[in-house]
């Protein structure tokens, strides 16, 4: 959202989930249309992408921030990836087989794929990546899914068989993890160099990293899917949202993500209409208020439901996102098959809220106009992290609305590290935060009652036995249809319990220079077919000879 802080800061706020696969939005589809329109595709030109943050490391299994993931996504491939319809398809794996008991996955690897240094890709690389992932010395946030693996067997150079200790539905998706070259990372010291000079199997190969300024990639001629059309990819780092935008306006950038304000107000003139295309699709993440369920006030379901009525989500979306988002009703976003369309968000209804609060015993008001129960005023602290404009604005709007039903809200904006500390010690009333989501709906870590210990993610201490059971089931079952039913039910139950007040799902708002063709928006965004984007000869801006 609109903020002047580098995204690391914000992103850590959104992406608390230990395993998520943002990079999938930047991976590319096998089945993307080759041609589009009447013109013939051509090679050439370059795309200059603007970013607030600078990648931290280009070692795929360590890359946790969006900037690192973006570059990693172009230089590497996983075994599988999501296509435009968010179905898992093969990437470095041509296909796979899941045993009937769901315990074994066999991957059949693509033959003839070459690393960018010319060496052939084989099962050894997959094994190597797996070993690094579970190595305790590797500080990777992604090890969780892989620790459930009981046995990893190389059948031959192009076949691996992976055995899990129990059926684990998100397992397949976890193999979207980019595969690293075993032959280049034999020694510990190799990683150091690799983190700033990676070599992968992906469509683009790394050329140069000018620290603090830009990263340059070039099309990999021998890419197994075919060489990308755009010759060169430059990732320019401009640490300030407004400079980023001004640079775009100066046409020094081809592709950035807009803030809602920029989308709605600053790009509606003829200049932008002529030179750029804007896109808008729901992002995979939501913003919520988490109530500390150990707090006697919020233990009462009626109070939480009252909050849901008293907070005007439409207003928040209007004020904070300028309408560019959807009301969130549960832990799944609208694009996901797990989303239960039957769960309808209630209208903003302060009377209903007051009734519910009265039912919970908050039926009298003091002189200041705040609700009182047992001599205590209804007052709580809403905590959020520093440097996130959208959350700050959001908190202010909520403060105003809750005041109207007689609840006093104190906003406390703290530094991210402090916030984590407070959450960890459970010393909060309510937190305003966001989750970034993977494409798999599994949310066991967030809502299962076994995950309430310190540093685990069910920090609101939510406990519902039915939900617990369903979450367990959802992980064991592989069939999309059966899982769909399970997660729809989870959605309904959680919504009814309101451990969170779900606020909104913001839209992703990319803007791209109009000369790029072949962009096909889908529910999986636009990045999935990036290698098929192209620029007509006469419109190409950058000539490349080095």
């Amino acid at each position: 959202m609109s903020t002047l802080f580098p995204p690391r800061h914000i992103l850590r706020g959104i992406f608390l989930i230990p395993f998520f696969f943002l990079f999938f939005s930047f991976l590319f589809s096998l089945y993307a249309q080759q041609n589009q329109g009447s013109k013939v595709t051509c090679y050439g030109d370059a795309i200059v992408v603007g970013s607030i943050g600078e990648p931290i490391t280009l070692i795929p299994i360590l890359a946790a921030d969006s900037a690192s993931q973006e570059i990693v996504g172009l230089v590497f491939n996983g075994l599988v990836k999501y296509d435009k319809d968010i179905n898992l398809v093969g990437d470095l794996a041509e296909g796979w087989k899941i045993s009937d008991d769901g315990l074994e996955i066999t991957f059949y690897l693509r033959k003839g794929v070459k690393w960018q240094d010319g060496v052939l890709f084989t099962a050894k690389d997959v094994l190597f990546t797996y070993q690094k992932l579970i190595d305790p010395a590797t500080k990777t946030p992604y090890s969780g899914d892989f620790k459930k693996i009981e046995d990893f067997k190389i059948i031959d150079d192009y076949t691996v068989k992976i055995t899990y200790s129990e059926p684990f539905a998100p397992a397949l998706a976890s193999w979207g993890m980019p595969i690293m070259p075993a032959h280049l990372l034999k020694r510990e010291e190799d990683f150091k160099k690799f983190s700033r000079q990676p070599i992968g199997t992906g469509p683009y190969r790394f050329v140069r990293w000018e620290t603090g300024s830009q990263i340059i990639l070039e099309a990999y001629d021998d890419y197994w899917e075919g060489r990308p059309y755009i010759d060169r990819y430059s990732y320019r780092i401009i640490p300030d949202q407004s400079t980023l935008f001004l640079e775009l306006r100066n046409r020094g950038l081809d592709y950035i993500g807009l803030t809602p304000l920029q989308y709605q107000r600053q790009t509606n003139n003829d200049f932008f209409k002529q030179n750029f295309r804007k896109y808008k699709y729901p992002s995979f993440g939501y913003t919520y208020i988490g109530w500390n369920l150990n707090n006697p006030k919020f233990k009462d379901k009626r109070v939480r439901q009252a909050m849901n009525y008293a907070i005007d989500k439409e207003e928040i979306i209007k004020g904070v996102l300028l309408g560019l988002g959807k009301v969130c009703t549960g832990p799944f976003v609208h694009n996901s098959w797990a989303y239960n369309p039957e769960v309808k968000p209630p209208r903003y209804n302060p009377q209903k809220a007051e009734e519910l609060l009265a039912a919970a015993g908050w039926n009298r008001k003091n002189k200041a106009g705040f609700l009182v129960k047992d001599g205590q005023q209804f007052e709580f602290t809403l905590l959020t992290n520093q440097g996130n404009e959208a959350r700050r604005k959001c908190a202010e709007i909520i403060q105003q609305r809750l005041k109207e039903v007689g609840i006093k809200v104190n906003i406390k904006i703290v530094e991210w590290g402090c916030l984590l500390d407070i959450i960890d010690k459970r010393r909060f009333d309510a937190v305003l935060l966001g989750w970034g989501l993977s494409r798999d709906p599994d949310c066991y870590d967030i809502f299962h009652s076994s995950k309430t210990r310190p540093k685990e993610f069910n920090f609101v201490s939510y406990k519902n036995e039915k939900v617990d059971k369903l979450l367990e089931q959802g992980r064991r079952v592989f069939s999309r249809e059966r899982r769909k039913k399970i997660y729809h039910e989870i959605h309904r139950l959680i919504y009814n319990d309101q451990p969170y007040t779900f606020l909104y799902v913001p839209d992703a708002l990319p803007i791209i220079d109009a000369r790029f063709r072949g962009i096909e928006p889908s529910i999986n965004g636009i990045g999935y077919n990036f290698i098929k984007w192209w620029v007509a000869k006469e419109e190409q801006r950058y000539k490349l000879q080095e």
């Binding site: 002047l4 306006r249 803030t259 209007k318 604005k393 530094e415």
Partner: protein, 259 residues
């Protein structure tokens, strides 16, 4: 030049009035969000326009004057306390105390101002008070040098010798006989310092490291304004002018007093 001094005084006077009567003067609650009036240009209802949350810019700037005034006063107060203390100790005692303190001043002056500020901001919580404290803690060195030089010259004067001969204690000599005579130049330096403190605070807030929103400060209004500089010129123009005028006011006043 006299006219300019008067101009300076009137700017400061207006600033003080705005700060004191902020609740009466501002037509809106400076933090009242109005999502239907986002980024409306100056008009009859919002004379300086609204910001990206629909809040009234004029009201926010009036409250911002409070922050600026406070920052000037408190930051300079802090640097006065430290500067006068160190300066008079060094000047009065001379010898080792003097060289120790002046070394300390030299060392502090080695740190690039903003590096020191940023470091302190990073290590302390960014409350308004801390920001003021930090600005004060990083700007007392000039005052210390000034006070020391003044004390050095005054302590040789006859009335100080006389007081000493009459058996007055050191503390009394410093506070009664020496410090009052350093007042004029110190006052000038302090007033110029207030302008400097306002500039520093606004720069910090502009970088997002200073006064944290929603508390309005001219610096963080500018920060928010920068994001919409192409469509919301009023959010960049007016707070910038306000800073310019306030600092100019202090500078003119200080310069006028120096004469």
């Amino acid at each position: 030049m006299n006219k300019l001094t008067l101009f300076g005084i009137s700017i400061i006077a207006v600033l003080i009035l705005l700060a004191i009567f902020a609740p009466l003067i501002s037509p809106y609650n400076p933090q009242a969000i109005d999502v239907d009036n986002i980024l409306s240009p100056p008009s009859r209802t919002h004379i300086l326009g609204t910001d990206s949350l629909g809040r009234d810019l004029f009201s926010r700037m009036v409250y911002g004057a409070r922050v600026s005034l406070e920052v000037g006063l408190v930051a300079v107060g802090v640097s006065l306390i430290i500067g006068v203390l160190f300066g008079s100790l060094a000047g009065y005692w001379g010898g080792r105390v003097d060289s120790l303190i002046m070394r300390f001043v030299d060392i502090m002056l080695c740190f690039p101002t903003f590096f020191l500020l940023i470091t302190m901001v990073a290590f302390l919580k960014a409350t308004v008070f801390n920001i003021m404290l930090i600005i004060g803690l990083t700007s007392w060195m000039g005052l210390a040098r000034l006070v020391r030089a003044e004390v050095l010259s005054i302590k040789e004067r006859d009335f100080v010798r006389y007081a000493k001969a009459m058996g007055a204690g050191n503390f009394k000599i410093i506070s009664r006989h020496i410090l009052p005579h350093t007042l004029p130049p110190v006052l000038v330096a302090a007033i110029l310092g207030m302008g400097g403190a306002i500039l520093t605070e606004s720069a910090l807030s502009f970088l997002g490291l200073g006064v944290q929103p929603p508390t309005p400060s001219w610096g963080n209004i500018l920060m928010e304004g920068k994001a919409v500089i192409d469509i919301g010129w009023w959010l960049t123009l007016f707070p910038g002018l306000a800073i310019l005028l306030a600092v100019l006011g202090y500078n003119l006043l200080g310069e006028g007093l120096r004469r």
